[in-house]
């Protein structure tokens, strides 16, 4: 009996240790990725990377200034589409809607959220590239914007719902109209969560590559206008990584470091806004 008990205790200890190892391995991957990117990308990042255009094929040097600006333009467009729809739609869901409409909208948002990004790319292509017969920054922004909608909508709604009932009732009891209550009480009470939701959605689409491949396409020069193709950081990483040039690989690492750095900073910032004190202990 004691032998059996000892065996059971051994199994218990062993298996629990194994789960710990699993957790450590999973987290170690993050530090491995970061370390590798800093090691490879840090060596090839330079002032030129941020200020110069890509060098002609075969020449070394050059940078990705156009891709950085291109990504910024795409993200701006995405925010212009994703944030208003997500935010105002969430207000309707949380404050006005009946349960049937809410169910339909939520269902559509969840469905949209699960659509693979490449399929979103096809969608933006048929809406904004095919009719105009050329790739454009606008089409890329549309694709990213569509991806932002469900993420912003669902989490904003949750934060709005988390606002205590007493606050709403207090405002209503003072005679404020519903719209006034929303604008001056509910949204301010939930603004931290809403900001987090928007930032996380932003970080999510900032690294998206697949939907840009055949919407914003790519370019080795400054984009001449909003209805013309533009370079973007994720697509540059992709094309440079699979190209056969040593110098391009270095630039891909540098771009990867910049992109990942940006995304992680936005993520950490978003979480810090939400839960002050946990992520950024204030001394």
């Amino acid at each position: 009996m004691t032998a059996r008990l000892r065996w059971r205790k051994f199994v218990s200890g062993f298996m629990l240790t194994m789960t710990g190892i699993c957790a450590i391995v999973a987290v170690a991957v993050l530090f491995f990725i970061l370390g590798y990117l800093v090691y490879h990308g840090g060596a090839s990042i330079s002032w030129n990377f941020f200020t110069k255009l890509p060098a002609p094929v075969g020449e070394s040097g050059g940078g990705m200034a156009n891709a950085i600006v291109g990504s910024a333009k795409l993200l701006l467009l995405a925010a212009l589409i994703g944030v208003p729809i997500g935010f105002l739609g969430a207000i309707y869901l949380a404050e006005f809607s009946g349960s049937t409409v809410a169910f339909v909208v939520r269902y559509a948002a969840d469905l949209l959220n699960g659509v693979p990004s490449i399929v979103i790319g096809i969608f933006a292509y048929s809406l904004a590239v095919l009719p105009f017969k050329h790739f454009s920054t606008l089409a890329g922004g549309l694709a990213l914007g569509v991806m932002m909608i469900p993420i912003t909508l669902r989490s904003t709604e949750e934060f709005l719902r988390a606002v205590p009932r007493a606050l709403r009732e207090g405002a209503m009891a003072l005679g404020a109209s519903k719209s006034k209550t929303i604008a001056t009480v509910i949204v301010p009470a939930a603004y931290r969560g809403i900001l987090t939701a928007i930032l996380l959605a932003f970080a999510r689409v900032a690294g998206e590559t697949a939907p840009l491949l055949f919407t914003a396409f790519g370019s080795r020069f400054w984009s001449p206008g909003w209805n013309q193709p533009t370079a973007s950081l994720p697509v540059m990483i992709f094309t440079y990584a699979i190209a056969p040039y040593e110098d391009w690989h270095r630039q891909a690492w540098a771009a990867g470091l910049v992109l990942l750095g940006l995304i992680l900073v936005i993520n950490i910032l978003a979480r810090a806004i939400l839960s002050r004190g946990i992520a950024v202990p204030r001394s």
Partner: protein, 328 residues
């Protein structure tokens, strides 16, 4: 309008308050209408997406019908399109990914939910969330420059030596291929499995654990025989979620799978996936049938992930309701 308001204000508190309230109601109605339009646009976008995919793939649907899914000739020059190698590649890479990611992910989730102190658990969960935020092109970058050489030099030869009698591990070691894509995908989906499974495990009521421990089971026995079965459906949900991710993943797979439309029993062989072929050939597709065949592949991908995501959500909701009260 402005003049009416001023006269009403002068007229006395009661008359004023009535029109004041009705005016407020009006503004409420306007806000309601505007926000409704934005909410409805979400539904509209979704319907439009399905519509575009359906209309956009009309040609191959009529020309090939069901043969599209069971033939494996992909020849743009002779306008013959069969999707079987892509479907096969997508399923195999996702299968390999789950085979590797499920044990590791659930193990880590058990550690985070059952064993680790709350602060450790939350800190690790924070890192896991960051890991989930790493864009797929970065995984692809690391796949190209780290995983592929490592596979070619070490892992594939070692597998061949030890398990080479299996048809799974035969053929030349190129580095790229189903196995490599599966490994990169596994790394990508592990955070999803961990996050959701941890949440589900945490929602298991405390008395379930205490009852098991009180009956004399060890810590592991209470976890494995009581807590995990209780959360089983939710964990299945997290796996479906991960599967949907793995099926739809584009960039990382495109960069490491080898991009060759072949069906091979060996995991070492280079292959292709649905998402990868769309990414590679969409811009070069000449001719309507070619382009629409790619869009039909997109439709297939959409339907697959739609079904899986729906199932996943059902399972997760079912579990959290069973353990209601603790769920956030």
């Amino acid at each position: 309008m402005a003049s009416t308001t001023t006269t009403v204000h002068g007229a006395g508190p009661f008359a004023g308050s009535r029109s004041f309230i009705s005016r407020l109601r009006e503004s409420d109605e306007i806000v309601r209408l505007i926000t409704f339009l934005f909410a409805a646009s979400v539904v509209l976008v979704t319907i439009l997406l399905v519509y575009e995919l359906w209309i956009g793939s009309a040609l191959p649907r009529h020309k090939f019908g069901f043969h599209f899914f069971v033939t494996s000739v992909w020849d743009p020059i002779f306008d013959q399109f069969g999707a079987l190698p892509f479907i096969y590649g997508t399923l195999v890479t996702a299968g390999v990914a789950l085979f590797l990611a499920v044990p590791l992910g659930i193990g880590a989730a058990i550690f985070l939910a059952e064993l680790a102190p709350a602060t450790v658990s939350d800190t690790l969960e924070f890192f896991i969330d960051l890991l989930a935020a790493v864009p797929s092109v970065i995984y692809g970058l690391l796949g190209v420059f780290i995983v592929i050489p490592m596979m070619r030099e070490y892992i594939q030869p070692a597998l061949k030596k030890s398990l080479g009698f299996l048809p799974l591990f035969q053929g030349p070691a190129y580095g790229v291929g189903f196995l490599t894509a599966g490994i990169v995908l596994a790394i990508m989906v592990i955070p999803y499995i961990i996050s959701v499974s941890r949440e589900v495990l945490l929602s298991v009521p405390r008395d379930q654990r205490e009852a098991a421990l009180g009956l004399g089971s060890t810590r592991w026995e209470s976890t494995w025989k009581v807590v995990v079965p209780f959360a089983r459906t939710g964990i299945m949900g997290s796996i479906f979620l991960a599967l949907a991710r793995a099926l739809g993943e584009t960039m990382a797979v495109t960069m490491v799978v080898g991009n060759t439309p072949t069906i091979s029993a060996s995991l070492f062989a280079p292959g292709y996936s649905i998402a990868a072929v769309i990414a590679n050939e969409f811009t070069e597709a000449t001719g309507d049938l070619y382009l629409q065949s790619l869009i039909e592949l997109g439709l297939v991908l959409f339907l697959l992930t739609f079904i899986l995501n729906g199932l996943a959500r059902l399972l997760i909701v079912a579990t959290s309701q069973r353990g209601s009260g603790i769920q956030t």
